[in-house]
């Protein structure tokens, strides 16, 4: 699979809540080996689209294709077993486990639920090292501050050896330093062939990190392109009036 293959695509996805169309015929794509950003003002439909991709929300119309397969009607767990992993905006850590066990259990789950044989212990150590969590590995996860807890969620997702990593507002609650280190980690992962897609409010992070960006407003896709193209798009500037768009 080459670096620019499309791994995930949405086609004309529609979600209605009562009379309100939260997502209106949106088509985006996420490519292997890249970091893709999904941005837009509050209420633009980012999270709803995100939920359609992960399977927490059933779209009213449209198709979602992952690794060449139509997954529109697939349960969240099946998508995960196909190689999709996500983090949560409101963190969903396993609060009774240590940092290490939070990551290790993801390996346990993979072993028990897919045919893949992975060396859980060794893989846990590798992921801890990779994400820079070794120093807090034995802490209670409930004592870890938000910024690093977000990294724990990424590490946990990485244990499943995913092809697509979906991040829901990963930078919220992180200090500037932490965000920088975090961006570096994601860039490295993408270079190794992972497809990363993030929903994010931190525009500097998105502009600096993503190679492609999709912009949603009022449920509709108003622009797709490179950071430079997005910053010059009149539609995007209009949608963000009153909000500073910084490179």
């Amino acid at each position: 699979m080459s670096a620019s293959d499309i791994l995930l695509e949405t086609h004309e996805v529609v979600v209605r809540f009562g009379g309100n169309t939260a997502v209106d015929r949106v088509g985006i794509d996420v490519r292997t080996g890249t970091v893709t950003g999904l941005i837009g003002p509050n209420g633009a439909g980012k999270t709803t689209l995100f939920n359609c991709i992960t399977g927490m929300q059933r779209p009213d119309a449209g198709r979602i294709v992952f690794a060449g397969e139509d997954i529109t009607r697939l349960a969240p767990g099946s998508r995960a077993r196909m190689g999709m992993a996500r983090t949560f905006q409101r963190l969903e850590l396993f609060l009774s486990l240590s940092v290490r066990d939070n990551i290790r259990v993801a390996g346990d789950i993979v072993r028990a639920n897919t045919g893949r044989r992975i060396d859980v212990e060794a893989e846990t150590d590798r992921v801890l090292e990779l994400t820079g969590l070794t120093d807090i590995a034995h802490r209670d996860v409930s004592d870890v501050p938000t910024g690093r807890a977000r990294v724990v969620e990424v590490a946990r997702a990485l244990m499943t050896q995913p092809r697509l990593l979906l991040l829901d507002e990963p930078a919220s609650g992180q200090t500037e330093q932490e965000t920088e280190r975090f961006a570096e980690l994601l860039r490295g992962l993408a270079d190794d062939g992972l497809a990363v897609c993030l929903v994010e409010h931190d525009l500097p992070l998105v502009m600096g990190l993503c190679s492609r960006i999709h912009v949603l407003d009022h449920g509709a896709l108003i622009a797709s392109g490179t950071p430079a193209e997005i910053q010059e798009s009149p539609a995007v500037i209009e949608a963000y009036i009153g909000t500073e768009v910084v490179a």
Binding site: T54, M56, P76, G77, A80, R81, A85, R86, F88, R90, L91, E92, L93, F94, L95, S96, L97, D101, R104, V105, A106, G107, D108, I109, V110, R111, A112, N113, T114, V120, D135, H138, S142, D143, V144, P145, T146, G147, R148, A149, R156, A157, M159, T160, G173, T175
Partner: protein, 763 residues
């Protein structure tokens, strides 16, 4: 005839609807599913009986007192003193607290209104006041039921759609903070809802007894909660109109069943009693799957997981202690101790299922009943006093329990934990009202036999090779060993990848699914392991009892076992030991002791009887106390003892004292009771004792400094610089942890907030 039965069905449905709407009301405003709903109805009906029949209060006044004062007051007090304290606790804790209230009400009613006496409640205006429409007789009482239900339906509809109060009520569970922000008081709203809900329960209670024949019976009324729940399920516990539809379906179905089933189907009356429970399973099957929602909220329950090595050491200690304790008690008490340990094995099934996986089984002993029956029919060999249970019977019994567990759990597994809890309670009801009533022979798969012959079966002790449980001492030691081995096994399971997956599922189902975990499969497997353990414990329990009747599997026994295990600490194997010993041995010991005292001193017999009843009610109060200490007693004891790690000499001294006391007891200088109480008090008070004797080695520096009035910065100047201080400073400053030293750990609340940022945990 058809019309008459339709009217009867409608009336029954109307009463179910009244009960069910109360349940839905409290559940939706406080988020607590009230298992004591039926028990409240029962208290209402008995109070009404007491007023109207015993004291001769005019009917209208009696109704006014029960509906106007008892109902609302009961609801208000429950909310004010108990339910209000349940915020931020796990669903299990909430369920157990209402279960404790149920048990409290049941023992209260048994105390005041002896279950041996028959009581009748007549219809309002008597059975002779009726109107006849086209040949169909409708009694005034039935009209009252129908009118009351219709009035409540309209009233609730108006309340929820038209009144401000109703709208606020609907929001009370979803977002109490938002309500508060808008100037409402969610607590007040919940209090009103509880008052209304319990009034509806009481109303249903006084209406239903004459409809069902007039005999006032505490158990049947208490289980009204299952009928109400089955009806409420039609509306997914949310919609009042659909709940009414469900109630009418339920009422009609049970009336038609009795009316039109062939008369040679002798089991139809049993089936009718079990119908709501069976219907409940059917509705569960067709309910759509719950939507996956993130909800990793920190609850107040906290459990530590011991290592397998520690667990193994404690397992050996338990067996040795059992052998040592056996030497102190006389032969007649051994049976009681065995019974306690077999209950502890059943409780162990809850440690795994509830403590580790967060699911609930409210009828563990009913699974024991299934296992017992299968073992009884397949495993008894030999004749007369030489008859024994074979290993095959034991294994088949355990397998049967596991398979039954799978069948019971499957319909509910796609749904939230509450539904599984209710499904198990319904299963307990089915076992009691159908299986255990199969006392007459009938043809089963071509063989003619009774499932539960004559209502009493003799379960002979197990014999495997040289091991013969016919010997009491051997039985006792074997049971203790089985508990120890299973306990260590359960802890080993928790420390394995399987156990971590259970913890993940319990903490955040959404995250576990998004990592690829198949939840239903995992829940099913843990439920089957758990019911297998319950089955094994149940067979051992039956062997310990030897002569077994349906009373030994009554649902209240399961409920008290669950409750006491939570009180002990459901996340701990020791919690199971605590719960099992109290439920299996403690009760009978207490009641037995007071009965003996009563017969020894006849002039004080009534006093002793009151005390023993009081203890039974008090046990329920202990269960209610779970709200304040949701992690259980064992958790508090462990926390205290962890504290003692800095001063091992305190423990050595305690061990020494225990040995000396044992010696005294063995020599007969002090009694067994005295020994038991002294040892228990010694070990429970040990943390306080240690603190008093060895404060300087146990307390963190700040606490110690605060005790002496020395400011923290002068530690090391004015007072000695203690060992643990370096580690404490590191943590406060956010420095990486050094290698672990043998220093006292500092309680979490003493830890300063981290410099790195706010914790992410939602409290």
């Amino acid at each position: 005839m058809f019309l008459t039965f339709t009217v009867l069905g409608l009336v029954l449905g109307a009463v179910y609807a009244i009960a069910a709407s109360g349940l839905v009301l409290t559940y939706n405003t406080s988020g607590i599913f009230n298992f004591a709903h039926g028990a409240q109805a029962m208290i209402g009906a008995f109070t009404f009986y007491q007023l109207q029949v015993v004291w001769g209060v005019p009917t209208l006044l009696a109704v006014a007192i029960v509906l106007g004062i008892l109902g609302p007051l009961m609801g208000y007090l429950l909310h004010r003193f108990i339910m209000g304290g349940l915020r931020d606790t796990a669903e299990v804790t909430k369920i157990v607290v209402t279960v404790a209230i149920l048990l409290g009400f049941v023992s209260l009613s048994h105390w005041v209104w002896s279950p041996q006496d028959a009581r009748m409640v007549r219809m309002f205006f008597g059975a002779d006041s009726y109107v006849s429409i086209g040949g169909v007789v409708i009694r005034y009482h039935e009209i009252i039921c129908l009118v009351a239900a219709a009035g409540i339906a309209i009233g609730l509809r108006l309340l929820f759609t038209k009144s401000r109060m109703g709208v606020v009520m609907r929001g009370a569970v979803d977002d109490p903070d938002l309500l508060r922000l808008n100037g409402h008081d969610p607590e007040r709203v919940a209090a009103i809802a509880w008052a209304m809900g319990s009034t509806l329960a009481v109303l249903a209670g006084i209406l239903i007894t004459p409809v069902g024949g007039g005999a006032l019976e505490a158990n049947a009324l208490t289980l009204l909660v299952i009928d109400a729940f089955a009806a409420a399920l039609f509306g997914r516990l949310r919609s009042i109109p659909r709940t009414f539809v469900g109630a009418v379906v339920l009422g009609m179905a049970s009336t038609y069943l009795v009316a039109y089933a062939p008369s040679n189907w002798t089991w139809v009356t049993n089936l009718r009693d079990a119908l709501p429970m069976i219907l409940l399973f059917v509705v569960l099957l067709v309910l759509p799957q719950d939507r996956l929602r993130g909800a990793a909220v920190r609850t107040r329950e906290r459990y530590e997981v011991p290592t397998v090595r520690r667990a193994a050491i404690w397992g050996v200690v338990l067996v040795v202690a059992t052998v040592a304790f056996r030497q102190l008690i006389d032969d007649s008490s051994v049976g009681t101790l065995i019974l306690g340990l077999t209950f502890a094995i059943i409780a162990l099934s809850l440690t795994l299922l509830t403590g580790y996986a967060g699911e609930l089984n409210l009828a563990p002993i009913s699974f024991g009943a299934i296992a017992t029956l299968v073992a009884f029919h397949t495993g008894i060999t030999g004749q007369g006093l030489d008859a024994r249970m074979s290993l095959t019977g034991l294994v088949l019994g355990v397998l049967a329990a596991a398979i039954t567990g799978a069948l019971v759990a499957l319909p509910a597994l796609r749904l939230r934990g509450l539904y599984l809890a209710l499904a198990t309670l319904a299963f307990g009801g089915i076992v009691s009202s159908m299986v255990l009533r199969e006392t007459q022979p009938r043809s089963w798969f071509g063989h003619e036999f009774a499932l539960f012959p004559q209502g009493t079966i003799i379960v002979w002790p197990l014999k495997v090779g040289p091991l013969d449980l016919g010997d009491q001492d051997v039985f006792l030691y074997t049971t203790a060993t089985i508990f120890a081995v299973l306990g260590v096994g359960v802890i080993a399971l928790r420390n394995s990848g399987y156990g971590r997956r259970l913890a993940a599922m319990k903490d955040s189902p959404a995250a576990a699914v998004m990592l690829g975990q198949r939840l239903v499969r995992l829940k099913l497997s843990v439920f089957m392991i758990s019911t297998a353990i319950a089955g094994l414990g149940g067979i051992l329990m039956s062997m310990a009892l030897s002569s077994v009747t349906s009373d030994h599997f009554v649902y209240t026994l399961s409920l008290s076992l669950v409750m006491l295990t939570v009180v002990g600490g459901i996340g701990y194997v020791s919690g199971a030991l605590f719960g099992g010993l109290i439920a299996g041995a403690g009760f009978s010991l207490i009641v037995g002791t007071f009965n003996e005292l009563g017969s020894a001193h006849p002039e004080h017999a009534s006093t002793f009887s009151i005390i023993s009843h009081l203890i039974l009610v008090a046990v329920a109060l202990v269960g209610v106390g779970v709200a304040h200490n949701p992690s259980g007693n064992m958790s508090s004891i462990f926390a205290g003892h962890r504290f003692l790690a800095g001063a091992p000499e305190v423990r050595y001294a305690a061990i020494g004292v225990t040995v000396v006391l044992y010696g005294l007891a063995y020599a007969g200088v002090i009694g067994t009771w005295t020994f038991g109480i002294l040892v228990a008090v010694l070990w429970m008070a040990l943390p306080a004792l240690g603190l008093w004797l060895r404060a300087e080695r146990l307390l963190p520096p700040e606490a110690l400094a605060a005790r002496r009035g020395v400011p923290l910065e002068l530690v090391g100047v004015d007072v000695p610089y203690p060992d643990g201080f370096g580690g404490q400073l590191d943590r406060t400053l956010g420095l990486p942890a050094r290698a672990r030293r043998a220093t006292p750990t500092i309680p979490a609340q003493a830890q300063a907030p981290s410099e790195e940022g706010e914790s992410h945990v939602r409290v």
